[in-house]
């Protein structure tokens, strides 16, 4: 298992913030919206369509209720559903950013080591 010293050495030998990027790259264009197939024809008697985030939130809360259902009232599960939907909305906001390809995902140790190195170089 890599040690803290290994992470620090990695940080010291890897130019993570070599130079400030041109400002234009800081405001990356939004990714194009995903191509979605046309919705199937809705029979006249079907319920109103639910937006995808609400549908996902409903599904996730159904999982929670299957495990913890008796602990909270219907009104409280509705509050949980709204909070889950907010969480999904924020995730959707991040999904619209196009991120550069990377070999790793900003781990905990790495972040600390990088901060130290960046600070020490000023």
């Amino acid at each position: 298992m890599p040690t803290r010293r290994d992470f620090l050495r990695l940080a010291l030998t890897t130019p993570l913030l070599p130079a400030c990027a041109p400002r234009s790259t800081l405001t990356l264009p939004a990714a194009p919206p995903p191509a979605t197939p046309p919705p199937p024809p809705t029979p006249p008697s079907a319920p109103a369509p639910t937006d995808p985030l609400t549908a996902t939130a409903d599904g996730l809360v159904a999982l929670l209720r299957a495990r913890y259902g008796a602990r909270a009232s219907d009104a409280e599960w509705t509050q949980v559903r709204d909070a889950v939907r907010d969480q999904l909305r924020l995730a959707e906001q991040l999904r619209r950013r196009r991120l550069e390809e990377s070999t790793e995902a900003a781990g905990h140790y790495y972040l600390a080591a990088r901060m130290a190195v960046e600070g020490a170089s000023v």
């Binding site: 803290r4 620090l8 993570l16 913030l17 400030c20 990027a21 400002r23 800081l26 405001t27 996730l60 809360v61 999982l63 929670l64 913890y68 602990r71 909270a72 409280e76 509050q79 949980v80 909070a83 889950v84 907010d86 969480q87 924020l90 995730a91 906001q93 991040l94 999904r95 950013r97 991120l99 990377s102 995902a105 900003a106 781990g107 905990h108 140790y109 972040l111 600390a112 080591a113 990088r114 901060m115 130290a116 960046e118 600070g119 020490a120 000023v122």
Partner: protein, 469 residues
Amino acid sequence: MSTADLLYLPVRELAARIRRRRLDPVELAEAYLERLERFGPALGAVVTLTRDRALAEARQARAEIGAGRYRGPLHGIPYGAKDLLDAAGYPTTWGAAPLRQRRVDRDATAIARLRRAGAVLVAKLATIELAGGMGYRQANATFTGPTRTPWNLDYWAGGSSAGPGAAVAAALVPFALGTETWGSIVTPAAFSGVTGLRPTYGRVSRAGAMALSWTLDKIGPLARTADDADLVLRAIAGPDPADPATLPVPYRDRPPRRRLRIGVLRGLGEGAQPEVRRNFEASLAVLQDVADLVFDVRLPPLPYNAAATLVLAGEMGAIFEDFVDSGQVHELTAPEDRIGGYPSQVVFAKDYLRALRVRQEAIAALECWFREQRLDAVVHPTRPTVAFPLDRPFREAYRDARGGGEPISGAANLAGLPSLAVPNGFGRAGLPTSLSFTGPLRSEATLVALGRAYQERTDWHRRRPPAFA
């Protein structure tokens, strides 16, 4: 000098008296203990008095100083710690009713370092339950009841480091340790009218502290002055094998020897209460004396708050999984907190990882931004309003203030940037307002220099709440 006059002195001045043996550490500890007992309940600021430990530590300080072994400016100085930092011999409840009996008989690293510096632990201070991670929406969110700001007992002291804010403001302790994941040091500093220093992420070990978010949590001081906060930070900062996130460098920094440049973020005054705006503008006039101000600067546009929210949710979900699973979450005090742990149990791993990647981008963008703009710090109101009233939910506190402006708190906490909050006047209901300096990573010495310069030119930090004067 009256006892109250003495107890309101900054650490630096108490230390000078102790060093010259004009002030006895045992008598000082007893005086603060007496004040904690007398005023602590009315403020809802105290969870546990650590009397036996305090007197033992104070007697040891007395003996050492008497023998000529003075350890430094915290030797013999009493302090309090937010009740999510472990202290040997006492419960550490995290403010949560189901954890009232929780006890870890080992000091958190920050507490151990203060002990090594000769400081005297006199109290474990109130915190919002689980540091507010369950999404509390009103002040009554801890089993010790709401913590009141000493400036007006109908209003909240701020959270989640509520006890440290109120206790320092009312001179129940000369300084205290708080923690911040997202706003929990600077908010009580603002609402209680004291100085709060949120260090760079990794500056202070979190070993022995409750984890809310492994990559957002910070420990820092609340104190009477910027100078005092710096003294405390220098004692508790530094690498610690028990917290692998600690920076592998000590805190011995000094501010640059040149005139500093401070950015004033665009739009931060908009949406703030008129008194907050007025006091902020008056503060800028003072700061022009000590630094070059660059107006209307804007942070790189990134979804800081969304990323910080998802990082917090993802980590909190893992940290409190057992607490939620066991049903203990339903024993919390605030009704909203009893269900607030569920959403974090269904964060997609891909969403958490994307948030970490956005953070990587945010750290780089903000570091570059400070360099490109040649800014040592940015200045902004700490909060857009004064303290919230106790009798209603936060969202109904003030209908005439909507916040607004750049999302500096989310950005700074996401990227691990330090911030210093200092009192800068008063608003409605006799409540304090606050000014913050936020800087790049490891800029605490610069922020403290700015705070010190501001406090040399103003006296807001020397004002005392009338009911506790």
